[in-house]
């Protein structure tokens, strides 16, 4: 049986959206898939050595808020300084209590399982990011390199 392949494009750099690519990639690898994640735009944040990912209630009406805050808090209140930090803290705390892995842990499991992590060179240049900020083992490539793998993949996801 040929090894199945999973190709993922990760475009988002917030704490909540960091989960789907790493959860799916690590699980696919455990199921025997050859897996690649192509990180572009804000997704590049997920490759930094020191992750400082946050979650924001702004522009996200689907986010459950503690103590019914979404009911009585005006939208502008959510923009108050410190609100994002507080929501991030609460989210991380909740995840820990519910036995949800941290992004650092899931990323490490992906690396251990030989998931290939590719950074989009164009957006690295666009944002003046320094390769020294990223974890080791990351490869740098462009759209054509992505298609070389994605074209042969069984599953291809844009996240």
């Amino acid at each position: 049986m040929d090894q199945k392949k999973l190709a993922i494009i990760a475009t988002k750099g917030s704490l909540d959206w960091a989960y789907p690519p790493f959860i799916l990639a690590s699980t696919a690898a455990a199921l025997g898939y050859e897996t690649q994640i192509f990180f572009t735009f804000y997704g590049l944040q997920l490759l930094k050595k020191k992750l400082s990912l946050e979650v924001t209630p702004l522009g996200n009406p689907g986010m459950p808020m503690p103590m019914g805050m979404d009911k009585w808090f005006p939208v502008l209140g959510l923009a108050l300084p410190g609100m994002q930090g507080m929501m991030t803290y609460m989210m991380k705390d909740k995840m820990k209590k519910k036995g949800v892995a941290s992004i650092e842990e899931l990323r490490e499991l992906c690396i251990e399982a030989e998931v290939k992590l590719i950074a989009c060179q164009m957006t690295v240049d666009l944002f003046d990011l320094d390769r020294a900020e990223f974890i080791g083992g990351v490869e740098y490539a462009g759209a054509a390199a992505f298609f070389e793998f994605a074209g042969e993949s069984d599953i291809c996801l844009y996240i």
């Binding site: 959860i23 690590s26 699980t27 455990a30 199921l31 025997g32 519910k98 036995g99 949800v100 892995a101 499991l109």
Partner: protein, 76 residues
């Protein structure tokens, strides 16, 4: 619960950690050996079934007992 060679307690862990830990433990075992996994994540019932079907490792038993889920997987 039948005999097993190794045990993995994944209680309190959430998706996808029970599967990832099981995979890791299985890679250190030999073919034919049996792994007993204990989990509290209700999603793990369908997940271990799917894991077994996709990896070729055999799910010998899957049951709930004392509020926990127990799985016996035979390494292919």
């Amino acid at each position: 619960m039948a005999d097993f060679d190794q045990e993995l307690d994944a209680s309190g862990l959430n998706c996808p950690l029970p599967i990832l830990r099981a995979k890791k433990t299985l890679s250190g075992m030999s073919a034919g050996q049996i792994l007993h996994i204990i989990a509290t994540d209700p999603g793990s019932v369908k997940d271990f079934d799917a894991f077994a079907k996709q990896t070729g490792n055999e799910l010998l038993e899957s049951k709930e007992e004392g509020g926990k889920f127990h799985f016996l997987i035979k390494k292919a």
